[in-house]
Amino acid sequence: MLISCPYCGPRDVSEFTYQGDATRTRPDPASADAAAWHEYVYERSNEAGPHREFWQHAGGCRAHVVVIRNTVTHEISSVAPARGDRI
């Protein structure tokens, strides 16, 4: 599988580290809402189809990217810098 790093270009998946589901929202750090934290830390929908996820180009520029990957076909339809700033 190739991931097109916005900075480095297409690279083999072995250069990347999976860094988790990118659809969740981290609760307010000061919040003690147990349900919200539980949801954030543990609940995953395990989509069959396009899935938003974080990958880090650990074996390259080390930036985190948001990848939309089809979990059924492995097709990657989008890769964008996780920070949102230009590169």
């Binding site: 900075y7 480095c8 074996g59 520029c61």
Partner: protein, 195 residues
């Protein structure tokens, strides 16, 4: 200043090695620049960093990903978003650049001891590098001056093309001996000279 010791130990064996039936395919050497520095700009402060680098080193760095230049004793290339690797034959670049940049624009980290530069040059340099790295080393895809960050197994390598058939590789110092060994091993096929 006390001289830095090479990390290679007994893995460094000057001379010609391998199969040079067709001549020496590559030369491998340890340039040991006095300064290896990583400089990072805060978002929006890239121009300030580029300005500081130019003032201190005279290097005018292109802004596109992986862009870089080589001039005489100095070199620089992009290794990540808002991040550059700079070298100077002389020591002390980190301090000078840090003062010129200011923390409001970004950071400067001295890696003069932490990274080891390995130079590979010669007709078969692209062939030997392709044994280790899944990078397109053709000069169209990887022009002179530009750099790439990639890895060989666990070893992160930042690679700059410094000439049509010359490359500088920067690896973590503690991996340098191990990487040097595999590099030499891979170069045996084309014949190599260590100096």
């Amino acid at each position: 200043m006390v001289e830095q010791m090479s990390p290679l130990g007994d893995a460094y064996v000057p001379g010609s090695h391998g199969n040079f039936a067709d001549g020496t395919g590559v030369k491998i050497s340890l340039p040991q620049p006095g300064s290896i520095v990583e400089a990072t700009a805060w978002p929006g402060r890239e121009a300030a960093l580029a300005g500081a680098i130019e003032r201190v080193t005279g290097l005018s760095l292109p802004h596109h990903p992986g862009g870089g230049v080589v001039t005489g004793d100095r070199s620089g290339f992009g290794i990540g978003p808002r991040k550059w690797l700079l070298t100077d034959a002389a020591e002390g670049l980190a301090e000078t650049l840090r003062d010129a940049l200011g923390i409001e624009n970004g950071t400067v980290t001295d890696l003069s001891h932490g990274r080891t530069a390995i130079r590979l040059e010669g007709e078969r340099a692209e062939w030997v590098l392709a044994k280790f790295f899944a990078l397109d080393f053709s000069s169209d895809a990887f022009p002179v001056g530009s750099g790439r960050a990639t890895m060989h197994h666990d070893i992160l390598a930042q690679i700059q093309r410094t000439g049509p058939s010359r490359f500088n590789l920067y690896v973590f110092r503690t991996f340098a001996r191990s990487f040097w060994r595999v590099l030499c091993h891979g170069a045996e096929e084309v014949g190599y000279e260590v100096r």
